[in-house]
């Protein structure tokens, strides 16, 4: 049985989410507290940090901005340029880049920035996708590791200490750059922030012919290297009001392309457009925890008062957690091909990761699926 937040539609199976005695989740409470924030003061704090790291003589970039070309990173780059900074944008190529994702990367460059794209070996990446899916039910495991390691490695390589991240989804925290002293990122901070589901990069060496030399892009620099450059970082979402939809509007007005329809498994057309594997990633979240991308988005919009909880539930019940037959128009079969995996092998991995307590089953214990392979949750709201 799932218990849902009484304000939004998030179930209590989401790890790290707490509910208070009123039955309201910690993410809703955290959003309520944001209304009390003095954003002018935060903006001033941001300016002080940026001034500290700005290259005074133009001999180097002012900061690294990790970008995907999505709505949030497009917005981040626009803001950095408005503040007069000269960022070096760094992209870690997604596992299965879509054509709209490529268009948006090209658009981001056209904002007028220097840009570096780091593309780890795709054959090794496909092995990592398969291992991640098989062992921890996360096809995107290598991508999530690379998003954090690659910009940090770039900071060392280009000798640029400040990394400007977007939103910190985990807590309300400005990032280490705000600390008056001792603000250098260390490996431990990065590992906690990165969230690796109990599978570590070193655990992969020796599996399927993977050697240490294949994993350089996925490896954090040493603490000595981090200290040499003084690598530090901040979360822009701590200093500027952060809203995915307004970021999307601003990005769109600056050339960002949205998808032609609502993205499969989602409820909007303006995010998660750059990787065909994202549908699988989100589906596994649904199997393990009973919520998918539509739930995440409905919660964000309910908190901001754009839709009611009733509307959110209706949307989630119709769109969330559908079997990922395609994503951004690419078929599941084609998405699995580089992983050397068939759809039926994929289905058995899905079943093995499904939390059977939250889905309807037959008397013999088997999961009930409709003709499209979709599951039905035992309860879609509090009873």
């Amino acid at each position: 049985m799932l218990t849902y937040c009484k304000k939004c539609v998030m179930p209590d199976t989401k790890p790290d989410l707490n509910f208070d005695e009123m039955g309201v989740c910690s993410a809703c409470r955290s959003y309520e507290r944001r209304k009390e924030i003095d954003w002018d003061a935060r903006h001033e704090e941001l300016m002080v940090i940026l001034e500290k790291y700005r290259s005074s003589d133009g001999s180097n970039w002012d900061c690294i901005v990790p970008v995907s070309g999505g709505k949030d990173s497009t917005y981040q780059v626009i803001r950095m340029l408005q503040l007069g900074l000269n960022p070096l944008c760094v992209t870690s190529t997604t596992c299965d880049l879509s054509s709209i994702g490529r268009q948006n990367i090209e658009n981001l460059k056209q904002l007028g920035v220097d840009f570096v794209e780091v593309s780890p070996n795709p054959l090794v990446r496909a092995k990592l996708n398969r291992i991640g899916l098989n062992l921890v039910g996360d096809i995107s495991w290598p991508e999530h590791v690379g998003i954090f390691t690659i910009p940090v490695r770039a900071a060392i390589q280009f000798n640029v200490p400040l990394i400007v991240w977007g939103e910190n989804s985990q807590d309300e925290y400005g990032g280490p750059a705000a600390a008056a002293e001792d603000n250098v990122l260390n490996r431990r901070w990065l590992e906690e922030f990165g969230g690796l589901l109990g599978m570590r990069v070193v655990d992969l060496i020796g599996q399927e012919g993977i050697e240490k030399k294949h994993l350089l892009h996925y490896t954090y620099p040493t603490d000595t290297e981090l200290a040499r450059v003084g690598v530090t970082g901040l979360f822009l979402g701590h200093y500027l009001p952060w809203d995915g939809l307004s970021n999307a509007l601003i990005a769109q007005a600056n050339g960002f392309n949205t998808y032609q329809k609502v993205v499969e498994g989602s409820m909007v057309n303006y995010e998660n457009l750059d990787n065909h594997q994202t549908g699988i990633h989100d589906y596994f979240k649904f199997l393990k925890f009973g919520f998918g991308r539509a739930t995440d988005l409905a919660c964000l919009h309910i908190r901001r008062g754009r839709i009611t909880r009733t509307d959110g539930l209706d949307i989630v019940n119709r769109l969330d957690g559908k079997f990922p037959w395609e994503y951004l128009g690419k078929s599941l079969e084609s998405i699995l091909e580089p992983l050397d995996m068939t759809v039926s092998e994929f289905v058995s991995i899905c079943d093995s990761f499904t939390n059977k307590k939250i889905f309807q089953r037959y008397a013999n214990g088997d999961l009930i699926k409709d003709k499209n392979g979709n599951l039905t949750k035992i309860n879609c709201d509090n009873l």
């Binding site: 209590d12 790890p15 062992l135 985990q170 906690e192 109990g198 599978m199």
Partner: protein
């Protein structure tokens, strides 16, 4: 009440601190073994590899300080995930000496070994929600938590206690797995209470309101 989270150089402190804050407690991150005695209750987190963590505990003077606080001063201690495994006498994880393993804190007698060595044929690591049953009815740590409640696990190694009575709760993952251990005022949970929603918060609350000595 002062609750200290032992900050010996591994991650996972943020989510534990946030969970305690939801109980109205502001935890202190104790980063010097000399300051352990200033806290009323201690939480030992752990992420990564047993041998690496023991190395950090030894190097920072934590091993002897923790043993003194617990054994001599009866300071209540809760180890979480790898933090629970560190309470054991030894572990084979990352050990140079595969036969004897790496020495642990020795606060709850037992050995830590890989799930596969216990005959588990399930996929390793064990990641996700799994139901936990308390082994006895009068266990303070599991008060007001119904038998069979789900908790969130992420691990590949397991604690094999020397004495059955030190196993406070079990879960099943192709083989019975110690989900919580305890000896006197030392407790450990293999699962992450800080990631386990209401039941996890209840367990942390039970630890905070538990007997002192």
């Amino acid at each position: 009440m002062k609750v200290g989270i032992i900050d010996y150089g591994v991650g996972n402190l943020g989510s534990i601190a946030r969970a305690l804050e939801s109980l109205g407690v502001t935890p202190v991150l104790v980063d010097n073994a000399m300051n352990l005695h200033t806290q009323d209750r201690l939480i030992l987190p752990g992420v990564g590899n047993f041998t690496d963590c023991m190395h950090l505990l030894d190097k920072g003077g934590w091993t002897s300080a923790l043993r003194e606080e617990v054994i001599t001063h009866n300071r209540p201690l809760l180890g979480i995930c790898l933090g629970m495994q560190l309470l054991a006498d030894s572990s084979t994880e990352g050990a140079n000496d595969a036969e004897h393993g790496t020495k642990g804190l020795g606060l709850v007698h037992g050995r830590v070994m890989h799930l596969s060595k216990l005959g588990c044929n399930f996929r390793i690591p064990h990641v996700g929600w799994n139901s936990v049953s308390s082994t006895s009815g009068d266990n303070h740590l599991f008060q007001r938590i119904p038998d069979g409640t789900d908790f969130y696990f992420v691990h590949s190694y397991v604690f094999v206690a020397q004495k059955n009575c030190d196993v406070l709760a079990t879960t099943d993952y192709g083989t019975p797995v110690a989900a919580a251990v305890g000896n006197g005022l030392v407790w450990g949970t293999q699962f992450h209470p800080e990631k386990s929603s209401r039941a996890g918060i209840q367990l942390l609350s039970n630890f905070l309101t538990g007997p002192i000595c």
